[in-house]
């Protein structure tokens, strides 16, 4: 079975919510949305392509009140990913997964990893539009594209002489050296 093509990996976790858990999860995100500074630590996790949480409502046959679904597409090693969440986002993880049965807390990370591993759902099929690209590579390419546009405009400017353009080119390379 597959998670995803390297380097992107897929993580899907489903945990049964405690009574009142759905409300608590929504409240935690409501606070996060209104105080964006609380999300700054999340933005430091540059290996996340996409991540989402959803509450699966209770329905006949599902066997519990409601479920918390977490999904993420990320780069790198599974253990490192879970550890980063536990270390960088400990309070948020506690606020979110503390609403589910069996959550041991983000630290020590051994227990958190075991909890995620026990509740993760291995996908049968994974799709990635650009399977070989990390988040860092994508962001670098987008930044490079923007810088390159202004250089294209300069190259087409008849008022600019060749020497000035060559200087712009060298400046461009210096500016984007980490994006190449």
């Amino acid at each position: 079975m597959n998670h995803a093509s390297p380097p992107a990996q897929a993580l899907t976790v489903l945990t049964p919510l405690r009574p009142g858990g759905a409300f608590a999860v929504k409240a935690a995100f409501w606070v996060g949305d209104r105080f964006p500074s609380l999300l700054n630590d999340l933005r430091t996790l540059s290996f996340i392509h996409f991540a989402r949480w959803a509450i699966v409502p209770s329905e006949p046959g599902l066997g519990c009140r409601a479920l918390l679904l977490f999904e993420s597409d990320f780069d790198g090693d599974w253990n490192d990913y879970i550890d980063s969440f536990a270390e960088v986002l400990a309070l948020r993880m506690k606020a979110i997964w503390g609403t589910s049965y069996g959550f041991p807390g983000p630290r020590p990370t051994d227990g958190f990893r075991a909890y995620i591993r026990r509740n993760q759902l291995v996908p049968r099929v994974c799709y990635a539009a650009v399977p070989g690209a990390t988040t860092t590579q994508v962001l670098a390419a987008l930044k490079l594209r923007d810088a390159h546009r202004s250089l294209q405009t300069a190259a087409a400017d008849p008022a600019m002489d060749d020497a000035t353009f060559a200087a712009r080119w060298r400046g461009f390379l210096t500016e984007v050296q980490f994006e190449l």
Binding site: A4, A8, T12, L14, T15, P16, V25, K26, D33, P36, L39, S46, I48, H49, F50, A51, R52, W53, A54, I55, V56, P57, G61, L62, G63, C64, L69, E71, D73, Y101, Y115, N119, P123, R124, V125, C126, Y127, A129, V130, P131, A133, T135, Q137, V138, L139, A141, L142, L144, R145, H148, Q152, T153, A155, A156, D162, F165, A166, L173, V176, L180
Partner: protein
């Protein structure tokens, strides 16, 4: 932050699998997965052309762990097919695109990917009836997203692919023109990257 991020959205569909169809569904999903591997890239064949899906996956939920003791552990009334995707643009048109492209081909002559996958789920409408019925089914079985985070939600799949290709071209060009005169550099640049 919220259910969308930039222009990107997310879709989660959870549908009960007909009890006599689970093994068949698993086999079809494995065919889909092995086809992806054969292509050398993870592409859901049906999504070719729609070009709006960043990431997608199919999973089957057959049992739950970490159940509270008051519930019967690990038992579901019916297994669930879970489909999730991160995509570009409005949800409704994405579902239409997805179904259209998944209907264009299939794992065998027995039916399209839509029929072979979603047709294993309870209540999925049979082909030939209301053309809106499959999309309505997926939207009805949709699980709303509570929170969505995207590192590049302002950029579409097409923009990401184009930017990565451009990056490669610029890298190659930079190596090629080392030591060239100013005039030759500019001329080559304008030829390679016309405004």
């Amino acid at each position: 932050v919220g259910a969308t991020s930039g222009q990107a959205g997310t879709l989660t569909v959870m549908a009960p699998i007909r009890s006599d169809q689970e093994q068949r569904l698993l086999a079809v999903l494995d065919v889909l997965n092995s086809n992806d591997s054969a292509l050398g890239a993870r592409r859901v064949p049906s999504e070719e052309g729609s070009d709006r899906t960043h990431f997608a996956r199919f999973a089957v939920l057959s049992a739950l762990t970490a159940q509270p003791p008051t519930f019967v552990p690990g038992i579901l009334g019916a297994s669930r097919l879970i489909f999730t995707a991160s995509f570009d643009g409005p949800l409704e048109s994405y579902v239409d695109d997805l179904l259209r492209s998944m209907s264009a081909s299939g794992p065998s002559s027995d039916g399209t990917w839509v029929e072979q996958i979603w047709g294993c789920c309870e209540g999925f409408p049979a082909a030939g009836n209301d053309p809106r019925a499959p999309a309505d089914y997926l939207l009805r079985r949709r699980v709303p997203t509570t929170e969505f985070i995207a590192s590049y939600g302002d950029s579409t799949v097409r923009e990401v692919r184009t930017a990565l290709c451009l990056q490669e071209r610029i890298r190659g060009f930079a190596q090629l023109v080392q030591g060239w005169s100013d005039a030759a550099l500019r001329s080559a640049f304008m030829e390679e990257f016309p405004a």
